[in-house]
Point group: C4
Chain length 248, copies 4
């Protein structure tokens, strides 16, 4: 707030919050990320979303837009500290004629419970297929597990822990069941975070995935690494190869 105004004082819907010539400003970065995610097939047909937190401020892609065409002016902004009532969301800046994303409470969960700096939600087909394959299993249908693949080293060891997973560590991503209304996922997402405190991602059955990280860099590269592992796991399944192995 270089202007010295409080949010409430600044006129015209706080548009200064999303205007910056810095390419790394969240309001510029979210559209750039979404263009990239569209080419990766993660946010097809207005699906998915992305949010960045800068201290108390949260920047959010809106609902229902073509993600590869998103502009800074389409970004919602809210202050975490003002969200005292989960039923009554308060926005500092709302783009005219757009709707806020139903993902908002899920992004907020990653920010408040895990101190994340960025959270990405994709409808990646590989993620959906993993949840469908797990659904067929008699047991363990709520956990994706893979080990002994180098790309696993792309993940941090967990919340407030130093360093990354090792090659022999098993990466575990919990799966929660989908709900008709996306905001209703919040409770089970938070439960999964509590049950698997070190995970940086939660799969949503027949829907997609939420991935976060301390920074945009970490959220994005963890999301890429996961998608790589999901695609690899689907190909392994087609070729009759196991996701888990007991290499020393």
């Amino acid at each position: 707030m270089a202007t010295g105004k409080t949010y409430e004082e600044s006129a015209e819907n706080n548009d200064h919050l999303i205007r910056s010539s810095d390419s790394q400003h969240p309001a510029n970065l979210i559209p750039e990320l979404c263009r990239k995610f569209w080419t990766l097939g993660w946010v097809t047909g207005t699906g998915g979303g992305t949010s960045i937190r800068d201290n108390d401020l949260v920047y959010l892609a809106p609902s229902g837009v073509q993600k590869e065409l998103m502009k800074s002016e389409d970004i919602y902004v809210l202050a975490l500290s003002q969200q005292t009532d989960p039923k009554k969301r308060i926005y500092l800046r709302s783009p005219p004629s757009l709707k806020p994303s139903q993902c908002t409470p899920l992004f907020i969960a990653a920010f408040t419970k895990r101190n994340a700096g960025c959270c990405i939600h994709t409808h990646s087909q590989w993620a959906v297929l993993i949840t469908l394959l797990l659904e067929q299993l008699p047991s363990n249908a709520t956990l994706f597990e893979i080990n002994n693949i180098e790309q696993i080293k792309g993940f941090g060891r967990g919340y407030q822990k130093q360093g990354n997973l090792g090659y022999h560590d098993t990466l575990r991503i919990p799966v929660i069941e989908n709900t008709p209304h996306e905001e209703d996922l919040t409770e089970s997402l938070e439960e999964a975070m509590d049950k698997y405190p070190d995970t940086y991602a939660v799969l949503v059955r027949r829907h997609g995935i939420y991935v976060w990280g301390e920074t945009v860099h970490k959220a994005k590269t963890q999301c890429e690494s996961l998608d790589y592992l999901f695609q690899l796991a689907i190909e392994m399944k087609k070729l009759g190869l196991s996701w888990l192995s007991d290499i020393a």
Copy 2:
């Protein structure tokens, strides 16, 4: 018609109809969409097409051009109100040395019967494979059905209805049989629209798909969501997973 001329008065093949510095003008938007569709594999080898309606005016991609190289000057324009004889198409603007698309009567069906603002025709391989798989079934070979996948929420509930499909709703896309001449599909396309009044798309066996929407935004995002679901459904088939499930 800001110039105040009627179409008939304006000289030189009504080229003013396709000249605009507005990137959202249909004559600029159709080439941009077609470039994008070419990269998605939807309009390979001059296949497929796109049309946008602006009130009474209809803008159409021509036949037989490389879709990723299309220019505004290649666009046909007609007035819906002038198409009284389906055997005698009247164009306000015809590009020199090109041929009108055989898809024209099918696009017009979406505009007149469903009040669509945009109609997209693709030769997507996923769409073709879905129709080939359905053809193998003893029953139900003329309807693609899928449910309990989040991306289904990318579709409107139907013609003149408010809101979108829900997660548990079954998306149904009718399939019509292909004909040697594309314009001969019109009758069966219209029959499918009558039989499934809420559908926003019709699959054409061994050929591709027609998808429409009230706006360019809706037609394009519904087309993307469908292609996502078709690709997912093919992968599900390879992995032995069912398209329909009875999750509550």
Copy 3:
């Protein structure tokens, strides 16, 4: 030759033959096409090639270059009328420190035997896989056949014939066996052209495909349509679907 010089008179390796500000000049078009083909996976790792004929002049991509980085200065030029001895190729223009493509006699066969204006050679994996699948068959291993797919209409009916194939027509692409030296394919390519005078393409077993057309437009769109059909045919094979059907 707007300068009025003969090829022999013009100095400096006839570089004027490959210098033009016209984006449609063959020396500009070949690099643009090769960039596009590289993104399609057709000319990976210096594989494949492209040639355009303008009356008596033939423009050729060189051997061994990274196709997505090719420049006009890399283009070879020869005059068809000067190629009287197939063992002694005469070039009007040779780029310094490059080697002519081994595909040259094959491109020339398409130009002289079929009056083609453009010939494209790809190492498309779909094309290679088709030839491998055919090799497993006890009979008919030298002919790819598919019918009743709309994209077949993307092909002309044949040499010196008017119009395109119809939906119910069977597209037939002959397969020739690969040889250690690419120029040694010339004889069997010409035999395949004689045996299938209406084909616009010849598959080379375990190698790729040659596709031509009367114009750059036709060669490129036929090459795209074929690649679409090959990819579709591989997916059909994985899903247990037949390439030929007897729909009326």
Copy 4:
């Protein structure tokens, strides 16, 4: 060193080593290559790496960066002749706040043992899947072999040998076992180089591949050709086709 300074004399971390207006300078070329490799899925989620040698100087991509966003300023530089103690790496230029790549000793092995000018490390899924399929075999699990595919001609015959492999030659790529710490691969990589002196690549089980060549051109096109062959081999496996055949 056009400035006439020795490395030690030049101030400010030898930044002049990575500043050049020449697009072919290693410090410009590595970021351009990495952008391309990211789109090919080779360096997803900060995985993989690339190094170029210019006489005694070695330019290296750093650890842990988003490869499609890399800049010249992110490049490490070292002098081969100064690396007398493998436990104590000496860098001429280290980017502030980045870490050197664990791949460094592996790149150096290619430079010193094989006089390579460029070495590329990818996490290509096709490469990983090949190593997983080989792992299932009772024998020969440490060697990928394929023959009678044209793309094999994209590889040189071997270290200090003239010419390229022929169509009937068998391409052999050794596989080494992965280790928790990437630098610990060095010994087995060097052993594989000794056992297969003519190979230009070594697969790393469940990890990826290292590919080199005398020049950037050769390393890159060999890496592309290998990835093509790995993808083809996976598709062949799905279709029940053998990687080796005894065509004369």
